[in-house]
Symmetry: C2
Subunit: 112 residues, 2 copies
């Protein structure tokens, strides 16, 4: 395959990824859920996100199979959100961004 085509495919793939997981919250929420399931309120508090946005983001993640939603038989009802087998595939992306962000922060600090 020629280089130009490889570039086009890569560009497309990255756009696809951004379509699913781009924006301000989806990767942050995913990274939180990586360390275990959370209830709606716990997620909202931990991420610092308003319920409106959280609800919307979770729905979109669920639609793409990246988050599971489990209603628990408690009083009052609670709902647990968690990673899914498919969202395990996001780990590489999250790990790379986690690493890059930490390294970048160090770089910025050194400059001052």
């Amino acid at each position: 395959m020629r280089k130009a085509e490889t570039c086009k495919i890569s560009k497309l793939a990255i756009r696809d990824t951004l379509d699913v997981v781009g924006g301000k919250w989806k990767l942050v929420l995913s990274s939180i859920l990586m360390s275990g399931p959370r209830t709606f309120n716990a997620l909202a508090k931990e991420a610092g996100i308003s319920p409106r946005i959280l609800s919307k983001e979770l729905q979109e993640l669920e639609m793409n199979g990246l988050v599971s939603r489990t209603v628990c038989d408690t009083k009052p009802v609670t709902v647990l959100y968690a990673m899914t087998p498919y969202s395990e595939t996001l780990k590489e992306v999250l790990e790379a961004m986690n690493k890059w962000g930490q390294n970048h922060r160090l770089k910025i600090l050194k400059q001052q």
Copy 2:
């Protein structure tokens, strides 16, 4: 370190990363430049981005040391944009997203 702290640090790092390379274009532009330098117009055409946005995105990338800008002594003058040593550190992120996007596209196609 406790798990809760690890989670907080990861969340922060991912937010940092998104602050620098989030949005619709920065990672796409970076992935194009990965395969070699481009002029302003070439980038605009290849990415399908309007000059106004392209100019803004390139400035922001340059400010963060992720893109170099070289004025060439041609007639008429051309400007070459390219990766920098620092932007090499983005390769892991781009590679992970490239891989995920391709895999996700396959998954979607299978479902239909």
